[in-house]
């Protein structure tokens, strides 16, 4: 089955390890992710400037996928939330008609409301299914312990995403990671936001939020934080040292994408999983797995 791959604008520049590991994981699972050059920005950054323009942008992407007859799989939680919200808004006939009028001016066919939108992790959980992945696990990651960070927009707002995971005690990505044999912990800050969206307008608050989770997971002795969004990764990995300086701590917490962890268990090579791009190196993991 073919899916329209919604890569977003952060992953292909800021999260190469996510893109590389996603492409290779999908390939070895037999999931065909088709690149769609016509896709544009999802609308997220525009929503603070002009809500209607943002909706139009999201609708244009939905319409393009629909015309190609493919459902959307994405890897950025923000993009997935904006596209899912737009889908919900466009259930309103009046609004959809108004939007479709404008889409015509953009040279895009009208949107009927048929296309499905799913984050890759959600797709693996709901559609591909855990037991099928389990059958492909070649090397158990049993010695490893992770703390999962979901990212707010992965399942919220639940009215737009369809309540597939519980925002206060999310479990779908834990379940995905657990099939590799690795343990995942429950921790008090699990549903805390990474704060990246306000880094440019309220940096102090943004860094304080991120520091809380970095501190919590560091103190719990996990081998890595595992996440599913390039923006969250910028907050916790790219900014880790800076945030540490700000709060007077030295963090040394490896950060991995869920795709890298599942791929590792399936026996994909470090190269195929983009490990070279992990800023806090995977030495501890290598030691524990003895390879």
């Amino acid at each position: 089955m073919q899916y329209a791959f919604y890569i977003g604008c952060a992953a292909p520049v800021k999260a190469l390890k996510y893109e590389i590991s996603t492409r290779n994981l999908a390939k070895s699972l037999g999931i065909e992710l088709v690149d769609i050059p016509e896709f544009s920005c999802c609308g997220f950054p525009v929503k603070s400037m002009d809500s209607f323009a943002a909706l139009l942008m999201a609708a244009r992407n939905l319409a393009i996928a629909e015309e190609k007859g493919m459902d959307i799989i994405g890897i950025c939680t923000g993009c997935m939330a904006i596209l899912s919200e737009a889908k919900e808004y466009l259930e309103d006939d009046n609004l959809r008609n108004r939007v479709n009028e404008k889409l015509k001016a953009l040279g895009v066919k009208e949107y009927a409301g048929k296309v499905k939108v799913k984050h890759f992790a959600r797709f693996l959980y709901e559609d591909y299914r855990l037991d099928r992945i389990k059958g492909k696990v070649a090397a158990s990651l049993a010695p490893l312990k992770f703390g999962i960070h979901y990212g707010c927009h992965y399942m919220k707002p639940t009215h737009a995403h369809g309540c597939f995971d519980d925002p206060s005690t999310p479990s779908t990505i834990d379940d995905l990671i657990n099939i590799t044999g690795a343990k995942t912990i429950n921790y008090p800050n699990k549903s805390l936001c990474c704060g990246l969206t306000i880094m440019g307008t309220a940096e102090d608050l943004s860094f304080k939020l991120a520091a809380e989770k970095l501190e919590c997971l560091s103190s719990r002795g996990v081998d890595a934080m595992v996440l599913a969004c390039p923006s969250c990764c910028i907050a916790y990995e790219n900014n880790q040292r800076l945030i540490g300086k700000r709060v007077g701590k030295e963090f040394n917490l490896p950060v991995f994408y869920f795709t890298q962890v599942i791929g590792l268990a399936m026996g994909l090579s470090e190269e195929d999983l983009g490990f070279e791009f992990n800023r806090v190196k995977a030495d501890r993991i290598r030691e524990k797995l003895r390879y």
Partner: protein, 142 residues
């Protein structure tokens, strides 16, 4: 302009403060109070909302929306209030920069195909006029 939020709905807000008490930004910065913002918006006191920096402290995490016993889409209202602030000329510097990049390149984060090539990834189109076209279409909309 399509009305994304209906002030009528805000009448159902009984100011219980559950949105604020579950908000992590409120926890670390007590001056940020989503229920207060909603009260002001409900009363039509937009100027007071626009004058504070509060709108730009919300991370859009949606925790408040999920907690509201009245089903009020708190985050969405605060988010759309930003649009109103921006149209009233209260645009944070960051957004000026972001808008400029979006209009020029069609993306928020400029493409870096050299970096992609080094990593063995296919090139991606660096510039698109889609965002500019959409903003153009929106001109004249009220």
């Amino acid at each position: 302009m399509y009305k994304f939020f209906d002030r009528e709905k805000l009448k159902y807000c009984y100011q219980c403060g559950r949105c604020s008490s579950g908000c992590d930004i409120n926890r670390i910065d007590r001056s940020f109070q989503p229920h207060r913002l909603l009260h002001l918006i409900g009363m039509g006191a937009f100027d007071k909302v626009l004058k504070s920096d509060s709108l730009w402290k919300c991370t859009t995490c949606f925790t408040c929306s999920e907690r509201c016993p009245q089903g009020i889409r708190v985050t969405e209202i605060l988010w759309i209030a930003r649009t109103i602030a921006v149209k009233a000329g209260r645009i944070p510097e960051l957004l000026v920069t972001q808008k400029d990049i979006l209009l020029r390149t069609g993306r928020l984060i400029p493409m870096d195909n050299k970096k992609r090539e080094k990593a063995g990834l296919a090139a991606i189109q660096e510039e698109s006029s889609v965002v500019a076209e959409i903003f153009e279409i929106m001109e004249g909309e009220k």
